[in-house]
């Protein structure tokens, strides 16, 4: 299908700008990313080199994976705050189970609790219609409790990080992070799901207009259940990768990435109200946030200020987005 003119008479400039922004959110995003990199290079000349780029990508990938889960959920107008816990559980369990089991077995055991969290979320949101935010917050608290209990049972056995995860997390091949081996297929799959599958269509349709989807014969709970399980599975995979990168399994490993994952999706043009967004935008959003974090670190901005900034970004982008869609 071709992209054609939207109307015969050109609408006023402001409106055209808004349409452009909502049609091609990637363009301003990439411009912003380049600008940030330039500013960074100005503040500390020479920092931007091949090693820095590889490093940035390496740290952006876990965030992008988590934000991928967030993007999928946000397409339906939801939010998943349990991704941090699901990721941490997978990370912690794989690190402790690898002591006794083969890596493949440990990974399988590690992903199971994540799926359970997703399943419970799906039931709560899809069938009981609890607000996703509250539901996922609750399951995440329960998850942390379970993890604490689990920790006491394995406290003596120590931890071990499977070589394959360490290789994926930290390794470089010809200057490229090995994590791309995992990330590129996953990202391709997510984009494929969003664009070319019936399930992806339904995500957009439900987020856009649940009533219309219902009238077209869509059963809400089915979609939501599968969605939240997918989201948690993705978070689990991210946890495996992240523990390979950090190599220190703690009970709050992935928690600090939850807010940035929401921010990355929102910056990437995914609407928190649902119905609009794409994973490509989110990937750029994750890169922007990673660069921004470096920038703030160089500026010696404290953690608190960073959180304020992230919160303000989420609010501002959402409010601005509301203005764009209201004026059609």
């Amino acid at each position: 299908m071709t992209i054609s003119a939207t109307s015969i008479q050109p609408p006023p400039l402001g409106r055209r700008f808004k349409r452009f922004m909502s049609d091609y959110p990637l363009v301003p995003l990439i411009v912003l990313l380049i600008l940030l990199v330039l500013v960074l290079n100005m503040l500390s000349p020479g920092i931007v080199n091949q090693r820095w780029i590889a490093n940035t990508v390496k740290f952006a990938i876990p965030l992008a994976l988590l934000a991928g889960a967030q993007t999928m959920v946000m397409l339906t107008g939801g939010i998943d705050l349990s991704v941090g816990t699901a990721a941490t559980m997978a990370a912690f369990i794989v690190a402790t189970q690898s002591v006794e089991h083969a890596p493949a077995v440990a990974i399988a055991i590690a992903l199971l609790p994540a799926l359970v969290i997703g399943f419970v979320n799906g039931i709560g949101v899809g069938i009981f219609r609890v607000h996703p935010l509250i539901m996922t917050l609750g399951t995440s608290l329960i998850g942390v409790g379970c993890l604490q209990v689990y920790q006491r049972t394995v406290i003596s056995s120590g931890t071990k990080y499977p070589d394959v995860l360490v290789w994926l997390g930290t390794g470089l091949t010809w200057g490229f992070p090995n994590a791309l081996v995992l990330f590129i297929p996953v990202a391709a799959l997510l984009i494929f799901i969003q664009r070319r599958t019936g399930f992806g269509r339904l995500l957009y349709a439900i987020g856009d207009n649940e009533r219309a989807a219902r009238l077209a014969g869509v059963k809400y709970w089915q979609v939501i259940l599968v969605l939240y399980m997918l989201s948690s599975a993705l978070a689990g995979i991210m946890g495996l990768l992240y523990v390979g990168l950090i190599k220190a399994a703690s009970l709050s490993l992935a928690e600090p990435l939850v807010l940035p994952s929401v921010a990355a999706a929102v910056i990437g043009g995914t609407s928190i109200f649902g119905g609009r967004g794409s994973y490509t935008g989110t990937i750029v959003g994750a890169l922007i946030l990673t660069v921004l974090t470096t920038l703030l670190t160089i500026l010696q901005m404290p953690e608190g200020a960073r959180r304020i900034l992230f919160g303000a970004i989420v609010l501002l982008v959402t409010a601005a987005y509301l203005r764009i869609i209201e004026d059609r």
Binding site: S7, R196, L202, A205, A212, L215, A216, V218, I325, R328
Partner: protein, 511 residues
């Protein structure tokens, strides 16, 4: 005679985007009169009411109360200007008790109590939560609350609609007496009986304009109907059956049978049959139960009684998907209810394809494209702005909602006012399309608020009033005046007012 009007609104206009809901409405109410505000569906009554009560602000026009210009920006403003309204739906806060509701609106309690007694509710407990008060009583309380404030102008919107006969009688009685004290009442009603019994004058709206002010006197119903229809009476008679002649009669097998369908107070008793190859029109004034009828057939609500049969089999729909699987597609009147506005034309049309779990996998772009393309061509949808459906014109959006079900090959389409607010050319295309579909053996239930469409499209007209089927007219006699009379609950051939009033008396006894 120059009595200064209590309320004088002139040149009131209101636009929603490009759509003009009111163009040039005026309303002048004298002290001590009961003034009826009338008009067919979509004539602009409710918009005018909203403007007068401050729920929305007009784009143009002047509103004078007792000779002074008044800026009414909120219901509180309107109240200060002496204008109080009783809305169609109860406006007590459902979770507060009656007493708190009075306190919230600063209504004096004793006068309120007296009015409640006066209106025929002797044993009201002020500590009762509004939610627990029966709907009819809630409306009476709304009225009593309005009366207790002693407004100069009382605006009653379909006041008697949900009331049992004895309460309605009392209400009318109180309203009549109210006018004797020099206060005025604006009375909105679909019931001619009440209007002829109660009102002094009537203002008639048509297409957002005031087209006449008449004194109520015996036999005025015909005049009002004429005013509401305008020149259309003549036009409609001429075009009678111009389109319809070509279409063959329905083959007669029954597709859907509705038997004694009930839903709460909205649907009392609806029975009819929809045949294969037929377009059956549904005619009703606003809020007579047509919304619930369509929702029940589409599986959105569960009827509280009666039966629906599809192809002779009794069915129970618990989710719209059940109706879809039975080949029944619902095209809602509100396009924003049917479309995923931020998605493309293609995705909207293809939405039902992906609904079932087994179709969640990869989409065959070629197969889907072919189906979507043929539907687009069949409806001649202008797809230049196909990236987001919300950028299409209203007519094209409406076509998309129908195209979806043509692509999905639904056997029965329930069209709820599909031509509201769209351009003439698209309307014609939709008429033609519906006829073609019927000729292919599909069946269509078609509710419309524009009565002339019945003659153009339908084989029969089912008229609903107060949640009941009051008449089924063959298309030969379903011209606009006949339909209007039927929709207002007037008997088919009555012209004289005597007959109407007589009928009313028996009606009241019956209820």
């Amino acid at each position: 005679m120059t009595i200064e009007p209590l309320l004088d609104a002139t040149g009131v206009a209101k636009n929603y985007g490009a759509v003009a809901a009111l163009k040039n409405a005026s309303l002048s109410v004298l002290p001590g009169e009961v003034h009826a505000l009338m008009g067919a569906n979509g004539a602009g009554k409710s918009t005018l009411v909203k403007i007068l009560t401050g729920a929305i602000t007009a784009n143009a026009g002047r509103i004078m109360v007792r000779g002074k210009a008044h800026e009414v920006r909120s219901p509180a403003d309107a109240r200060r200007a002496g204008l109080v309204s009783v809305y169609q739906e109860p406006s007590l806060i459902p979770d507060l008790d009656v007493f708190s509701n009075l306190r919230l609106t600063q209504t004096p309690v004793e006068p309120f109590r007296e009015w409640v007694r006066e209106l025929g509710v002797p044993d009201l407990d002020l500590r009762e939560t509004a939610r627990d008060v029966p709907l009819a009583i809630q409306r009476v309380l709304d009225l009593a609350r309005a009366l207790a404030i002693e407004p100069d102008i009382l605006l009653l919107d379909e006041m008697t609609a949900a009331l049992p006969a004895n309460l309605a009688e009392r209400v009318l009685d109180v309203v009549r007496r109210q006018s004797k004290t020099g206060r005025s009442v604006i009375f909105i009603s679909h019931r001619f009986v009440e209007i002829s019994a109660l009102c002094d004058r009537a203002t008639v709206l048509r297409d957002g304009e005031t087209v006449g002010v008449v004194d109520i006197e015996p036999g005025v119903e015909e005049r009002i109907v004429e005013l509401m229809l305008g020149a259309k009476v003549e036009k409609a008679r001429k075009t009678l059956r111009a389109v319809n002649e070509s279409s063959p009669p329905p083959d007669g097998t029954t597709r859907i049978a509705v038997r004694n369908l009930r839903f709460g107070t909205k649907l009392q008793d609806v029975s009819f049959e929809l045949k294969n190859g037929e377009v059956a029109g549904v005619v009703a004034l606003e809020g007579q139960g047509q919304d619930e009828l369509f929702a029940a057939l589409a599986g959105s609500i569960k009827p509280s009684g009666g039966a629906i049969e599809v192809d002779g089999q009794a069915v129970k729909f618990s989710h719209p998907v059940d109706a879809v699987q039975a080949g029944i597609a619902y095209v809602p009147g509100d396009r924003s209810e049917a479309l995923a506005m931020k998605q493309s034309v293609r995705e909207n049309i293809a939405l039902p394809f992906s609904a079932a779990f087994r179709n969640w996998g990869p989409i065959s772009r070629r197969r889907e494209g072919a189906k979507v393309q043929s539907a687009i061509e069949r409806l001649q949808i202008d797809t230049r702005a196909q990236r987001e459906v919300q950028r299409l014109s209203g007519g094209n959006q409406q076509k998309v909602t129908i195209a979806r079900w043509i692509a999905a090959d639904a056997r029965t389409i329930l069209c709820f006012d599909p031509t509201r607010g769209i351009d003439v050319r698209t309307k014609q295309e939709i008429y033609k399309l519906l006829r073609q579909l019927a000729d292919q053996g599909k069946s269509i239930l078609f509710y419309t608020s524009e009565l002339e469409e019945i003659e153009l499209v339908c084989d029969r007209a089912i008229v609903i009033f107060g949640g009941r089927v009051v008449d089924i007219l063959p298309v030969e006699i379903a011209d606009e005046p006949a339909l209007t009379r039927a929709a207002y609950g007037l008997p088919r051939d009555a012209k004289a007012d005597v007959g109407i009033l007589a009928n009313v008396q028996s009606d009241k006894v019956a209820t």
